[in-house]
Amino acid sequence: MLMVSPAIALAFLPLLLTLIIRYRYFFVLFYRAVLIRMWKDCVTGLSREERAFQYVLTHATPGDPDSILDTFDVWCSKVEFISNIGPKKGKILDRLLMEHSPLTVLELGAHCGYSTVRIARSLPLGARLYSIEMDQRNAAIAEKVIRLAGFDDDTVELIVNPSDEVIPQLRSDYNLERLDFVFMDHWKKCYLPDLQMLEGSGLLGKGSIILADNVLFPGAPKFLRYIRKSGLYEWRIHRATLEYSKGIRDGMAELVYQGIK
């Protein structure tokens, strides 16, 4: 019989406290992203994205991308949690877009349109953004958000299909010659295959920039290992914290395609 005495159990108290204090951000994240979501899903019968859209619709100024982004930020930090790129990492994205002013931009994983609006906002005139989203319902919401922000079909084209089906077709279906900027924020496991597919399709030219979000948390280890080894890229990692959360470290990988030397 293994009855552990209460004193021994008490001795584990410091460990418990330590774990709680050290990983408090993760617990908070778990609470906000999983528990609240499940509860709200049951209560409202709507999906999380739909709730977010409702909030944006009622609180933001239509036609004003900044207002829409701000409203999203408020909702994500105060009400519920959606893993958008967030305001802090978004600044890095903005800066990169301003610096390079790309003409053809591909976005993998539009989710509910936050990052799409963010990119489209800082694009130069005449630039075109192709945004790929796999999920039908999310894509519908993303479409609404994009239109709400005032971007038309000429600027943003939303493609509802899995990325691994779309990328090989980009050249033939959409007459693309070269991608200047690729933003990855979809399934972390797809980062590597999609990157390899992009390389294979020949759409990347010298100087094309690929920005991958969330490479540290939740993290894309295979992707990082690959870019370290491949030698096709000049790369760096912008360290930041996870969106709408202070204590969880995260990073964005910025890759500049160099081609085969």
């Binding site: 021994i8 410091p14 330590t18």
Partner: protein
């Protein structure tokens, strides 16, 4: 055609030349003994040497020739010998002065090699007549000796235990982690010596020459315990046969001498106990003094950033990942330094930081008090269990004290670490706080344990009184019984297992310490296996199918916790020092433990840890560890000395049984083994009238030495200042000289422009000017 012809002839000529050379060589090989040709050949050879690059095969052949040369040189005329001698001397001189020659490195190397070969070749042949052979032999022997010495050095480094392992760890993890392993190895050495002392002077003599097992009550398992004495559970708790063996104090007999050697067992036991502690003090203090000498010179906050810039790289790092980490740590240290610099200029919201620091300390104190109370509670409970009889309780309850202490010792530091993030200290200061807190925790735990032990000792001594009374009545009844039966019969022989005996608090203390050490070791190893190895395995292999990056993110691999490990080691050693008087097996156990943990931890570090993010320089903090070791040594000898001096030994067990105090054994030896005058002298010497002045003298001497060392330190600082001043002065002087030279230059240029005719002179001036400045610079 003509060209072709010419080239042909050229070729043939060359071939001729070759042939001639060959011929010459052949002649040499035949061993031509004419002196003149020898000389000529010598020149030829040396000429050939002058051509720098040669093929290997050729040189081989030449060495063959050289042997011949040496043989042939015996027949040289004195003049030629003289010449040769001069040549050799010249070469030697060249070798010595080579460093200062303004040549290219390549040329220097070539010349050096050539000259060495030349000297090597002809030196042996010099000397005169009969002495020549001896001289050659001498040279040969010195060379052999040197080679042997070099080989021996290599052998010696290969013999240093675990050197390669530690080097490997150092290359992967930097010097701070390696410092722990060096410390561990040092500890191992000390424990080896302690083990040698106790094993060679106490355990082996008793086992070989003392009375055998079963010959008397204290050396026999009592009848009641006999049935379970060989059970594993009992042996694991160091009861049963393990308790009644040389491993513990109680087994030793109080007979003054054992065996045909007349080995003074009790005296040896006492002196070994004192000697181990004295030796430990000596070693620790000596090491501290040596370390202090090494690190005493640098103070230096004056060039913080320069130091960081030029000295922060760890050149022992040999792998890319560690290099990355080191790079990161250097960057962070720069950031920290900059921040610190900024902070020293402005202080914002000092009240909040103060409040947080006070709060953190309050929390830590609460934690310490809580853990102290928990241990106290558990110890009291265990005493209750012991009164009830241990058999009625589960394994958990029996081992509660050790488990709780180990667990608290493991988890509380983590909590402290988390709390210390509140304080926002500089990492180095934070580390010191952390070390201090863990130290306090461990110390508190240890002393709670000791106080509980003291209670138990008192209980045992009360029991002892009752038992003593019982035994006398028992003996009386035995005696009466025999008398009444038959007065002439031989005394009744009773098996020693049946004889009633008194409790033995010394063995109990020894057992407690051994159990503590064992459970501590087990906890360490299990933590290592679960916390490091299992975690690493999970992280590594679950990472293929997990939804976030386990390696970079949340669980990650564990870091090697240098401070915690060092403190664990120090406290472990403290327990050894405390308990080894009552359990002579403790140093042996500790040696085994350290040996295993050396291999296990080396493996674990290389296999499942990642280098620390927060790196601190090892050399600086080494003396900090030593100081803690010294404190622990002091604190752990205190209780041991207290028990030895103030508590009378048990009457029925151990080498000092029957004496009033343990140290009476010295008196006894003085009286019976030394001539009377010696004991008289000793008694005079131990007279307080003599001891007190002696102590006073010692205090004075210490004071004197301390003040002199202080004055030396001050003088050092002064000298340093002086050097700095001189440096600055020199710099200023140089600057002035350079300025002057520049002025001269300008002037010269002016004059050159003005007077074309005096061009030469101006050039000279210019040259002298630049020369001047050069000299100044060098100066």
């Amino acid at each position: 055609k003509i060209n072709e012809h010419e080239s042909k002839t050229h070729r043939t000529k060359r071939r001729d030349g070759d042939r001639q050379k060959k011929k010459r060589r052949n002649e040499r090989r035949k061993g031509g003994t004419r002196a003149g040709e020898g000389e000529e050949d010598l020149q030829a050879v040396s000429e050939k040497r002058e051509r720098s690059k040669r093929k290997r095969a050729k040189s081989k052949q030449e060495t063959k020739d050289n042997d011949k040369d040496v043989v042939r040189l015996e027949c040289l005329s004195p003049e030629e010998l003289e010449k040769l001698k001069e040549a050799v001397d010249e070469r030697k001189k060249l070798i010595q002065s080579l460093r200062g020659k303004p040549w290219a490195m390549k040329k220097k190397l070539v010349t050096l090699r050539e000259s060495q070969e030349f000297v090597e070749k002809y030196e042996g042949a010099l000397g005169k007549g009969k002495g020549r052979k001896l001289y050659a032999y001498k040279v040969l022997m010195t060379k052999k000796w040197m080679k042997f010495q070099r080989d021996f050095e290599n052998f010696k480094t290969a013999c240093i235990p675990w050197e390669m392992k530690i080097k490997e760890i150092e290359s992967h993890f930097g010097s701070s982690v390696a410092s722990y392993f060096l410390f561990l190895r040092w500890m191992y050495g000390i424990n080896m010596i302690l083990f040698g002392l106790t094993f060679g002077l106490v355990m082996v003599p008793e086992a070989l020459m003392g009375r055998p097992y079963g010959s008397m009550p204290r050396k026999t398992v009592p009848r009641a315990e006999e049935a379970s004495a060989m059970d594993f559970a009992v042996l694991w708790d160091f009861g049963g046969y393990a308790q009644y063996s040389v491993l513990f104090y109680g087994y030793y007999n109080n007979q003054r001498t054992v065996g045909w050697l007349k080995f003074r067992m009790p005296l040896s036991y006492f002196l070994v106990g004192v000697g181990t502690v004295a030796y430990s003090y000596m070693v620790v203090i000596r090491t501290m003094a040596r370390n202090a000498n090494e690190s005493g010179v640098g103070d230096d906050n004056s060039f913080n950033f320069s130091w960081k810039m030029f000295t922060s790289w760890d050149y022992l790092i040999g792998n890319a990942e560690t290099a990355d980490n080191k790079f990161a740590s250097i960057t962070t240290s720069f950031k920290e330094a900059i921040l610190e610099e900024q902070e020293s200029h402005k202080d914002d919201n000092i009240h909040l930081t103060r409040f947080l620091r006070v709060l953190a300390n309050f929390l830590v104190l609460c934690c310490l008090a809580g853990s102290g109370y928990l241990i106290y509670f558990v110890v009291r409970r265990s005493q209750k269990f012991a009164l009830d009889g241990l058999e009625n309780h589960t394994w958990w309850e029996r081992n509660e004290v050790n488990m709780v202490m180990s667990l608290l010792g493991m988890f509380c530091p983590m909590l402290f670490d988390v709390i210390s993030t509140l304080e926002n200290y500089h990492p180095r200061v934070a580390l010191q706080w952390q070390l201090g807190r863990i130290f306090a925790l461990f110390l508190g735990n240890l002393y709670t344990f000791i106080i509980a032990l003291m209670d138990e000792i008192n209980l045992k001594r009360k029991e002892e009184k009752i038992v003593k009374f019982n035994i006398t009545t028992w003996e009386a009844s035995l005696y009466n019984g025999t008398v009444s039966e038959n007065s002439t019969a031989s005394p009744v022989t009773i098996h020693p297992a049946d004889v009633p005996r008194g409790p033995c608090w010394e063995t109990m203390v020894g057992q407690e310490f051994v159990r503590l050490i064992i459970s501590d070791t087990m906890t360490t190893y299990i933590t290592l296996l679960i916390g490091d190895f299992l975690r690493a395995v999970l992280v590594r292999f679950l990472n293929y199918c997990w939804c976030w990056d386990l390696e970079a993110g949340f669980p990650s691999y564990s870091e090697f916790d240098v401070s915690g490990n060092v403190l664990g080691l120090i406290f472990n050693q403290g327990m050894i020092w405390m308990g080894s008087f009552y359990a002579p097996c403790l140093p042996a156990l500790n040696v085994i433990r350290l040996h295993v943990s050396m291999y296990l931890q080396c493996w674990a570090v290389m296999c499942c840890n990642v280098p620390q993010e927060r790196v601190f320089k090892a050399s600086g903090s080494n003396n900090f560890y030593m100081a803690m070791l010294l404190v622990i040594l002091f604190l752990s000898t205190l209780p041991a000395i207290y028990t030895i001096v103030s508590i009378p030994p048990s009457f029925d067990c151990g080498p000092f049984s029957g004496k009033n105090r343990m140290f009476d054994v010295i008196h006894e030896t003085l009286e019976s083994d030394f001539p009377p005058w010696f004991s008289k002298v000793f008694s005079y010497a131990s007279n307080p009238g003599l001891v007190l002045p002696f102590i006073l003298l010692m205090v004075l001497a210490i004071y004197y030495l301390q003040s002199t060392s202080k004055s030396y330190r001050e003088a050092n600082v002064e000298l340093k200042k002086k050097l700095q001043m001189q440096n600055e002065e020199n710099k200023r002087k140089n600057k002035r000289a350079a300025l002057k030279a520049q002025m001269d230059l300008e002037e010269a240029r002016m004059t050159a422009q003005e007077q074309q005719r005096n061009n030469n002179a101006s050039v000279q001036d210019q040259e002298s000017g630049s020369l001047n400045s050069n000299i100044n610079k060098e100066y």
